[in-house]
Amino acid sequence: MTKPVIDIRQVSKLYGGKHENKVYALNNVSFTMVEGEFIGIMGASGSGKTTLLNVISTLDQATEGTVMIAGTDITRMKSGQLSDFRAKQLGFIFQDFNLLDNLTVHDNIALPLSLQDVPAAEIKQKVKHVMENLGIAELADKYPATISGGQRQRTAAARAIVHEPALLLGDEPTGALDSKNATSLLETMKKLNEEQNISILMVTHDAMSASYCRRILFIQDGRLVKEIVRLGPRESFYQEILGVLSEYGSARSSGE
């Protein structure tokens, strides 16, 4: 059996200070992800998707529970260790691309490597490789402000994988893209997953995007409520997702 990339047990996250209303953004969440998986997390907005991703990505701490990433318990790590861990094991793609507008596309992609003081020759070769892989080689010397949204997101994706992380995390990576650009990014992610065996965990509320995943976890009010696995073609998986969504969507709206 392949080893787990993510293994989280009974994780809860409580928001709200002493005098405020307390909100359980995550409530007793447990799941495991093995190497090479492509998992989607779906749920209504406010259901806790981002919180879950932030806890996994070590950007935020869980209030309770254990979070193991690539075999290490990150809830026990110090801030310095967490930084090193992020630098080596994780790659991020966010909805807003988080590129630095004073750096060229090439330098933005090189950032995770140059922050680790990787030798220049090696950086050059690695960045060139991912850029070709993602079809943005000709953008190398442009600045983020002068390229399209789709190109920016692909730049962010390139930055997320340039250091060959164990896990790629995406928070609604297609959220700001039109369907053509979204599809092309998703195809790229699929390729990375299938050809380079990169594990991907992606948050989305869009069924089309989710249909690229191999497995989908549904979250509602901070709890995992359902899980479906893709067995057949993408088309039927898409229909299945829509079915689950309407089931939980209506359950939710009738509960309110």
Partner: protein
């Protein structure tokens, strides 16, 4: 590598850094200029009319240091806000927190050192320029004033060195406390709920008490003296800060609720904007209020000293000029002046006695002061009683104090005993000695004829010199000039500090503008997209900034109006013509408001289509 990246990041925000640097440089230059005077005891002693001048400078230095301290912390907060998103991104990508912290530390220190060097140089240059300008405008000599004064350089460097070190550490701590996510999301903070009831009530009470004590000390400055000065210096700012922090958010909430009831679309957005950021603004606005109080106060103080010269002159004599036996030239000059009242009397002198003509006095009754003290110098009355026949010297005269006051004032300088006798026309003509003549004149505004008075004094001096007299001219104008000469250094300091403080205030508000701008661009673009007209957005900006300007403006002015009592133990009338500095300040402030609005609209509003 990280350093290279950071430098490139800094370069991309050059515009913001220039504003930051400009603000720091200005505050350092101002501090330096103040120190050139504070450490130059020779200059102060020679130029100041105040006895406890060292104390005044001590208090001034303390206030300036206090305000500068908050200002530097605020400016460095701005520095952090410029960088936090970039640093957050580095941390997300795995840069260690300590490394980022060190970077922040280095950056703060580099910015500090740069601004210290430029600021000190600018301070020296400004001291030269301002010194020249002021002595020209105020027509005064500044003796013993050195623009490049080493003790001041040393103290400025020491003071700011320590300040920058503190704020570097402070920034580092703040960075360390923040989570990566907070940094990444930048100024996207949730609206903090208004401070809990109990805490707010406590702060309000403490603030009222402090401000009350401060104001009390200012009002009774004459009685409390040094103790009052010290207490007021500590209590007034303390009260201001407490009240701003406690009341401003609550006040805005009230306003917002009122506006909501009226349901006037754009205004609810404006108030939403304001109350969203008011928590971060209270301390800055309190600092602005203090800066306004200090700036407008310094200008008002300087003007008060200048006015005091007029008060001194006016209380020396009622009439603006008096010329004994005017010659042709003097007469021509006198005729060129528009007098509201011109009197002419004849007199004769024998031995030690002056003779006046009763009929002349009767037909030209003069104005005198209602009471003979300096407090009521501008309350004049016309003499009603009959001119006293007889003499002030031998017993047949019952002294009429009003005529006595007037006739003594008219006595020529070389007649120091001032004995006189009022005789009728016929008796006067029978007297053997030569008939002499005196012209008195009063204008509507003493100060608008300064050139004429100077010329009259010169002609009079020529006459005295020709007669080989030892006397120098003693006139209302000479009193005015003398007084101004003594006060000039103080007047200069007042203007100088006033401008300095107001400049610091301006850059404080500028930081506010720039920190908010990035997020506001998105907000206004969004509103524009959903169809809000450009004019309404512009109106909203005007409205928001008006409130931001209004509160500290009012608080500052109120401090000035109460604070002018500070001068009551030095000046006859600190409140004389107080509307002049108030008007000057209001004008500067309004212009600055308009500039700010314009600038902000240009930054955040999408361009005209």
């Amino acid at each position: 590598m990280l350093i290279q990246l950071a430098v490139s990041g800094m370069r991309s925000k050059l515009k913001d850094y220039i504003v930051l640097l400009a603000g720091l440089v200005m505050s350092i230059a101002i501090f330096y200029m103040f120190q050139t005077m504070a450490w130059n005891t020779g200059f102060i002693k020679e130029n100041a009319v105040i006895n406890s001048i060292r104390l005044v400078y001590g208090v001034g230095s303390f206030l300036l240091a206090l305000v500068t301290f908050f200002y530097i912390l605020y400016a460095n907060g701005f520095l952090l806000s410029l960088r936090q998103r970039e640093f957050g991104l580095y941390m997300m990508l795995g840069a260690r927190k300590e490394k980022i912290g060190r970077l922040m530390l280095i950056e703060t220190i580099v910015v500090g050192v740069c601004s210290l060097v430029i600021g000190t140089v600018l301070g020296v240059l400004l001291s030269v320029v301002v010194g020249h300008l002021m002595s020209n405008i105020l027509e005064i000599e500044l003796s013993g004033y050195y623009p490049l004064y080493w003790p001041a350089v040393l103290f400025t460097c020491l003071f700011f060195g320590v300040l920058f070190l503190i704020s570097a550490v402070w920034n580092r701590l703040r960075l360390a406390r923040r989570q990566v996510l907070q940094l990444l999301n930048g100024n996207m903070q949730a609206d903090r709920p208004a401070r809990g009831g109990a805490a707010r009530v406590l702060m309000t009470i403490a603030g009222c008490i402090s401000l009350g004590i401060g104001y009390f000390c200012l009002v009774f400055m004459e009685q409390l003296r040094e103790l009052g000065l010290l207490t007021a210096t500590v209590m007034t700012p303390l009260g201001t800060y407490l009240l701003f922090m406690a009341l401003l958010p609550a006040l805005l909430d009230r306003l917002k609720k009122n506006e909501k009831r009226m349901l006037r679309g754009m205004k609810s957005f404006t108030f939403g904007q304001l109350s969203f950021r008011i928590h971060g603004l209270t301390k800055m606005l309190a600092t602005v209020a203090m800066l306004i109080a200090l700036g407008a106060g310094a200008i008002a103080g300087g003007l008060a000293f200048m006015n005091n010269a007029l008060v001194a002159a006016e209380s020396s004599s009622v009439y603006d000029t008096q010329v004994h036996n005017p010659n042709q030239e003097q007469l021509r000059l006198l005729n060129s002046i528009t007098f509201t009242e011109r009197l002419e009397y004849h007199y004769k002198v024998d031995h030690e006695m002056l003779y006046f003509v009763q009929e002349e006095l009767e037909s030209q009754r003069p104005l005198i002061k209602e009471e003979y003290n300096s407090k009521s110098w501008n309350r004049l009355i016309r003499i009603q009683g009959p001119p006293p026949a007889g003499s002030s010297w031998n017993g047949d005269y019952s002294p009429d104090p009003q005529w006595n006051q007037f006739l003594l004032d008219m006595t020529p300088n070389d007649q120091p005993y001032g004995e006189y006798r009022v005789v009728n026309k016929q008796q006067f003509e029978e007297l053997a000695s030569k008939e002499q003549r005196i012209v008195l004149g009063k204008t509507a505004d003493f100060l608008s004829y300064k050139a004429k008075w100077r010329e009259l004094d010169r002609l009079e001096q020529e006459k005295l010199d020709a007669a080989q007299s030892n006397w120098t001219v003693y006139s209302k104008f000479s009193i005015y000039e003398n007084y101004l000469g003594i006060a000039s250094g103080t007047v200069f300091m007042g203007f100088f500090l006033g401008i300095a403080f107001l400049t610091m205030m301006a850059s404080c508000l500028m930081f506010k503008i720039l920190t908010g701008a990035a997020k506001d661009i998105q907000r206004y673009q969004m509103l524009r997209k959903i169809g809000v007209r450009r004019e309404r957005l512009a109106g909203s900006i005007r409205h928001e900034l008006l409130l931001v300007f209004l509160f500290p403006g009012l608080a500052g002015l109120s401090h000035v109006l109460v604070g002018m009592n500070l001068f009551s133990f030095i000046l006859v009338e600190p409140y004389y013509r107080i509307w002049v500095p108030v008007a000057i300040f209001t004008m500067i402030y309004s212009v600055y408001y308009l500039i700010t609005v314009n600038l902000y609209q240009r930054i955040v509003l999408p361009g005209k289509e």
